[in-house]
Amino acid sequence: MSIGKNFPHDSARTHVSGESVFVDDRAEVRGEVHVGIVGTSIACGILTEIDTGEALRDPDCLGVYTAKDFHAKKWGTIVHDQPFLVIDRIGYHGEPAVLIASKTRDAVERIKKKVRLKEEPLPGIFSIDEAKAQNAVLHRAPSPFRQGDPEQALASATHRLKGVFRVGGQEHFYMESQAAIAYPLESGQVEVHSSSQHPSETQRVVAEALGRSFHEVVCVVKRMGGGFGGKESQAAPIAAYAALVADRLKRPARMVLTKDQDMIITGKRHPFQNEYEVGFDTEGRILALKVQIQSDGGAYTDLSGSILERAMFHADGAYFIPNVHVEGVCYRTNHHSHTAFRGFGGPQGTMTIEAILEDIAAVVGKDAAEVRSLNLYRGDRVRTPYGQQVENNLLPEIEKRLRLSSDYEVRLQKIREHNAKKTGTLKGISLTATKFGISFTARFLNQANALVNLQLDGSVQVSTGATEMGQGVNTKIAQIVAHALGVPMERVRVMPTSTEKNSNTSPTAASSGSDLNGMAALRAAEQIRSRLIGLAKLKFQGVVSTMEHELEVMMAPLDPGFEFLEGRVRERSTGKEVPLLELIQTAYQNRISLSGYEHYKTPGLGFDKVKVSGKAFGYFTQGMAVSEVTLDEYTGELKVDRTDILMDLGRPLNPGIDSGQVTGAFIQGMGWVTSEHLYYNGQHALVSHSPTTYKIPNVQDTPRDFRVDFIENDGNPGTVHGSKAVGEPPFLLGTSVWTAIKHALSFRNGGRPVEIVSPATPEVILLALEKAKGRSVP
């Protein structure tokens, strides 16, 4: 039995020994060239001239390429609006304009400096407000999500709050920056090794860039040094750069971004600015909510439409809102094109309602956890703003248990006592929730395929479209296949993802990697299993193969009367057994396939965005967190004292891996709302483009007391072995640190709500404290 066990990550042993191979770890081959990108030095304007003469004269320079070298000039996941290289109009500061090919790694920077760009600046758009004023819209949600009569309910509510919730972007900070190596093959084929979450799209984008049919391009992904959404769409152009140079020079070409280049060029989590009006009663029960969800999409569309919609889908958080109106607009600005990032808009939606609830509690003079509890989806109050019901709802149970296990009431009382005295520190505590919708909201993406090859020695190779970025999807898939075929884990190897084995795959995104690919792999393994069961039946009947009579098995539904355990196949009713190896030999000798290929699609999905009807999500992953913080009143510095998390992950396939997803997502979420601040200068260039100035949490920043637990839940029958998706949902719980800061600050504002932006850096905290204390800011 390999399901539900804490197997180490399938690459753990090579990770720790340094033997895991990432793109730039691949040995340089004969003739390989290094590709460099020259970016624009203004954020908006026209590129009028490119002077490449001096660069071409450099003895190490093998070529200089511009937009006109690309067959398709633009790429895009849905809307093809992003130029591979600037054509004329400049979209953002540092946008790739020219590629150079260098004989050596050392010469890349030197050659880049010899390319001269002539740019004519134009006024740009650098905020949602500016975009709004100019009606620079990238995408508008076709219909609002609407239930009840929010206008009427707002008008008659005892209390109303109106406000704007502002939350900043976030750099992915995957440790391995974007990277690709392209190898030109015979007959114009190209093999691209890319650090990509979406090999199928990378294949297509490379083919379009070169003007080839898709079948001339193979994209291989062994692993990524982190992805988090940043390599879902934006890995593709990087691969195309390498491929273009490789194709032109007929030499392998390596394109590896430095961290600085990566942060300047690639998009981030979308900043949002959500305008809301909420009506509630004296108890703090929400009666009506109207929200205008607004995001900064950057210069090009990318995945902004879907991200905006997921923000709308999560504007309810974990709370029932009887009268609601949610609409959404994504604006075009002159920033890097913002893209997918763990949570995909969900965090920006949910954080809005969590901020609102914190303020409601302050207005009605109750503890925020009480107010949240009052509004939580429970009983028959489970209809979402988009009409779907929250089925298998564990939120009330999670809340009850977590408040108890985290000792919430006692700690809240202590905090009140602490803050009553002025000691130089201020404490706050907050409980927030995640109810994350699982499924791509674009239905066609909810499909996967898998290939399972059973070898003659009983070992197994599995290939799916899932890409391994650290989340452990390969380990989980190996567990699923090992379990299905009754072989030990070490006999299963998940192979590099490659578009020649698995085509038309979806990105490894939306937390769906294991759900979709695991199910496809299970079905592929079951195909083999079904044939071997057929052979076992023949054997138990005493049928043997001869030269005259070759054994044959018909494809039949999987017979539950047989089990595959520890290398044996056993008939449950009779207890008869046959070694797996014997069946494999029999199959081979009788020319019966030992490979399985299967396709899977999530059943029952179909959400109509225009009519706002149908099922958007297969299910929800739920959880809650309680965080306690201490603020330094002199400096605004923050310490997270303790965090307790309780998650519903169904029946985890691998509790060790899932626990790591929860702690990792939480800390990433905490960084987003506290220290991760994107700073642009007067020329609208990103200044915080390296870890010196962009501060992701380090080991000293994690909660001093950090407790993660799962609630056991068997009520998720549609998924692979009853498991639940885990990648994104806990990210939203990082918000509890931000609301705890808000809670702490309210003590110095006479209990009234304190408006702060996210991230709550020490500067934000300290200046909010000054304001609350009635001091003018110098």
Binding site: P8, A12, R13, V16, M175, E637, P762, L767
Partner: protein, 490 residues
């Protein structure tokens, strides 16, 4: 003079010369020696993915293994050392116990930061064994402060680190036979000239030799810990050129404590300074704990931090209030090494990176006078650890019969250089302690400073910080003086 850098890599001898000897170590490992386990993420010593373990040859033997950032360590700086990379911790097919612990605890997810963490943890275990200390979460945190991970949330790595029993881990020194390496290093000519004709790198072995080269190559840049110049090199802000590297100059590693002062040689690392001064200047030693990562402190020096003349400079505010003297050397007209001593207030001239330092001089040592003063050092930053200060505050004082004496203040991050605050010093000097006094000083300081707005904070934020740090200081002093502080003043 020797022309080849000689060092050992996971027990194997390797040499480097010419252009290659000026590469950063991480590039040499990854692209020239087939050891891509060491990763480069930031190329500025801020993420730790490039961490390797170095044992340097000094006084006839290889010293303890220390973690460094290989991305900002030029190959020449590794001359006469033994280097263990992540690949070298695994022996035959057996993982190092730290590697095993990481596997068991699910300490790796994407695996890109993992080699760096493994090296930091292996260094930690080695030092815990040496000191006979048990490993706990605090120790693991302190040794992995310089390693960023974006996947795990650190919890599994903390668990991995805490699960290692130092008693069951072999000494790093026992993994490879030191004897033949030490024998070879002892036999080598100490002085080295490598690099290229256009960008020669001198590694003199005595101070006199270093000063002579300084005279004969006036354009050559002096390099030491390389924790800043390495970053500038990688980011294209420091062009290749002649270098005088001080790594081989034995005199500069000296530190002397006498009854009056500590004299800290220019090559003494910050991690050693942190240990050396822990009894006499506990406040400074504590500040160094959050000053930078272990990897940086193993390479960087106090002298380097001062000569870098950053307007923030984190250690400089302390050096300014502690009345330190700088020992500068040059070759005099007689051909002998001459020393000049200059007080820090004269040394830091006030303009951006403007120092009283002549082109033929080398900062040899920093003299920190002992005193019965107390210090208050506050470093405020967006992230508590491994972050450059938004504002750095240093105060020196003494309380005699309820009155403040010898008051000095210095601030970093508010002007073109680290500045003293003479008006506020005068306001407090000789006064009896009361909260109103500190409030006035805080208001005065806030009115005096005119900080810039930048990536680390707005001018407004810095001004509020300046005021509040003075108040924090005042509250602390009142508590120390035993005065009842019912409420803090902020």
């Amino acid at each position: 003079m020797r022309n080849e850098v000689v060092f050992y890599l996971n027990g194997k001898r390797t040499t480097s010369t010419g252009n290659e000897s000026s590469l950063m170590l991480s590039d040499l490992l990854r692209y020239e020696r087939g050891l891509p386990g060491t990763k480069v993420v930031c190329a500025e010593g801020d993420c730790g993915a490039c961490t390797v373990l170095v044992s340097r040859f000094r006084n006839g033997r290889l010293g303890e293994y220390r973690s460094i950032n290989s991305c900002i360590a030029p190959v020449y700086s590794l001359d006469r050392s033994h280097l263990i990379t992540v690949e070298g911790l695994k022996r035959a097919d057996e993982l190092h116990p730290v590697q095993e612990a990481m596997v068991r605890a699910q300490g790796s997810q994407c695996g890109y930061c993992t080699p760096g963490f493994v090296c930091s943890l292996a260094g930690m275990v080695d030092s815990a064994k040496r000191k006979g200390s048990a490993i706990d979460a605090k120790m693991v945190r302190n040794h992995t402060t310089g390693n960023l991970c974006r996947c795990t949330g650190y919890e599994p790595i903390l668990n991995a680190g805490c699960s290692v029993d130092p008693g069951k881990v072999p000494n790093l020194a026992a993994l490879y036979d030191h004897a033949p390496m030490e024998a070879e290093f002892a036999s080598l000519e100490a002085s080295l000239l490598t690099g290229t004709p256009g960008a020669p790198v001198f590694l003199p072995s005595t101070l006199a030799e270093a000063l002579e080269i300084r005279n004969s190559h006036p354009g050559a840049k002096i390099v030491s810990g390389m924790t800043d110049l390495g970053v500038l090199t990688n980011k294209g802000k420091l062009a290749p050129g002649p270098r005088i590297a001080l790594h081989g100059v034995e005199e500069l590693y000296q530190w002397i404590e006498d009854s009056a002062a500590f004299r800290i040689g220019a090559r003494v690392s910050l991690s050693d300074v942190e240990d050396l001064l822990s009894a006499s200047f506990p406040e400074f030693s504590d500040m160094l704990k959050i000053f930078a990562s272990p990897q940086i402190k193993h390479s960087a020096t106090l002298a380097g931090n001062l000569m870098n003349a950053s307007p923030i400079g984190d250690s400089t505010p302390f050096l300014r209030v502690a009345d330190v003297t700088l020992v500068l050397s040059r070759i005099g007209s007689s051909g002998q090494v001459e020393m000049r001593e200059v007080g820090i207030d004269a040394f830091i001239k006030g303009g951006y990176k403007e120092l009283d330092f002549a082109g033929d001089e080398i900062l040899t040592a920093i003299r920190i006078p002992k005193s019965d003063h107390r210090y208050a050092l506050f470093k405020t930053s967006t992230r508590k650890d491994l972050d450059i200060s938004t504002v750095a505050f240093a105060a020196r004082y003494r309380i005699r019969e309820g009155r403040l004496e010898g008051v000095r203040f210095a601030l970093g991050g508010v002007a073109a250089s680290v500045v003293r605050m003479p008006d506020e010093e005068r306001m407090l000097e000789g006064e009896t302690i009361d909260s109103d006094l500190f409030r006035r000083a805080a208001d005065s300081a806030q009115a005096h400073v005119k900080p810039l707005s930048d990536v680390r904070g707005s001018s407004s934020f810095r001004k509020v910080l300046v005021r509040n740090l003075f108040l924090k200081f005042g509250d602390r002093i009142q508590r120390e003086a035993g005065l009842p502080v019912s409420e803090v003043s902020v």
